[in-house]
């Protein structure tokens, strides 16, 4: 067993298996946005590491096979972004304003709260990336001196909270027209919000996907200069 645990390929295979299990669970529960496959996958891998006593460094020699794919995946975001530019031409000013001010507000609130409440510089730097889809958040967190492992956790937790809170909040305030809900989910809750939007309807989901990509691009360009 110890030999098996020292093989990078074992951990790469285990990660893929955990992801597939997460996907199965997600489907069984009727595509419930609160149990995204990534959450189940992470919990399963962490459990295996805790049980076997294998260190994160050892795990990562296998995990890195998959991790290396993040670079091309971020480049790939140009494809949906290009399609959105095409379809959303008429409303671009309002959309750009909503994305800029909305995401700016949520990040500013989080950064200020973290700065005055916790006061740990690395945490504050990391929380800047909380509303950006994870692959982009990681790239930026590295650039601005945040903690990568934490960045990923912030993004996933923000996504789940946003998917949970935003539709009810907007409904309560009677601001729940499909475009507003979709855009807000994409801005504040990135990929997890986008999968929640998919449950709400096609218009919500198109706006969420667009908002998520625009937010990620905007933050990727702005954050490295101001953090």
């Amino acid at each position: 067993m110890t030999h098996l645990f020292s093989l990078p390929l074992f951990w790469a295979a285990l990660t893929i298996a955990s992801f597939l299990a997460g996907q199965q669970l997600y489907r069984r529960l009727g595509n419930n946005a609160f149990i995204p496959p990534i959450l189940t996958g992470v919990v399963l891998v962490v459990t295996c590491l805790e049980l076997s006593g294998v260190s994160y460094q050892t795990y990562m020699r296998g995990g890195d096979y998959l991790n290396q794919m993040l670079g091309p995946v971020v480049v790939m975001l140009a494809v949906p972004l290009y399609q959105f530019i095409h379809t959303m031409r008429k409303q671009w000013l309002r959309i750009v304003l909503a994305v800029t001010l909305g995401s700016g507000t949520t990040v500013a609130c989080a950064v200020l709260l973290a700065h005055f409440w916790i006061g740990d510089d690395a945490i504050t730097r990391t929380i800047y990336t909380k509303s950006i889809t994870t692959p982009v958040a990681l790239a930026i967190s590295e650039q601005v001196g945040g903690i990568n492992a934490l960045a990923s956790a912030f993004v996933i937790i923000t996504g789940i909270l946003g998917a949970l809170m935003i539709p009810s909040l907007l409904k309560l305030l009677r601001m729940d027209d499909p475009q507003a809900v979709g855009l807000t989910l994409g801005i504040c809750a990135h990929a997890i919000g986008t999968s929640r939007a998919l449950e709400l309807g096609p218009q919500q989901s198109a706006y969420a996907a667009m908002a998520m990509t625009l937010t990620a691009t905007l933050h990727a360009l702005v954050l490295p200069w101001i953090v």
Binding site: M69, I85, A98, D120, Q143, M175, Q179, T184
Partner: protein, 112 residues
């Protein structure tokens, strides 16, 4: 596979440009913007890129698991600040959601 090669070439170009110009923006983002520019100039998405996007998109969460598992190296920090962080992440969503929903509502429903 030619779609993947395109992505890798743009990633390498992004990396090159980032180093040459000392950009603070991540190489993958520079590559993404270069590809976006190329698509705008070309006027349409080539089939090979469309295919690789459809193949890779559903796998995205898989590629994110390894870094996310790194949370086990942050146990001490979470024990100390975990609840505060959770509250911060939840509270900060509310003003952001209100601002973006308000902007989308203002100016009428011209797009719908």
């Amino acid at each position: 596979m030619s779609g993947l090669l395109t992505l890798l070439i743009f990633l390498l170009l992004g990396s090159l440009l980032q180093t040459l110009l000392h950009l603070p923006v991540p190489a993958s983002i520079v590559g993404m913007l270069l590809l976006l520019l190329a698509l705008i100039l070309r006027g349409k998405t080539p089939d090979n890129l469309q295919r690789i996007t459809q193949t890779l998109s559903p796998l995205l969460p898989l590629f994110l698991i390894p870094v996310s598992v790194g949370i086990i190296t942050q146990k001490q920090l979470l024990a100390e600040h975990g609840p505060a962080l959770l509250v911060i992440l939840a509270l900060s969503l509310i003003p952001g959601a209100l601002v973006s929903a308000l902007i989308m509502r203002k100016g009428g429903k011209s797009g719908s």
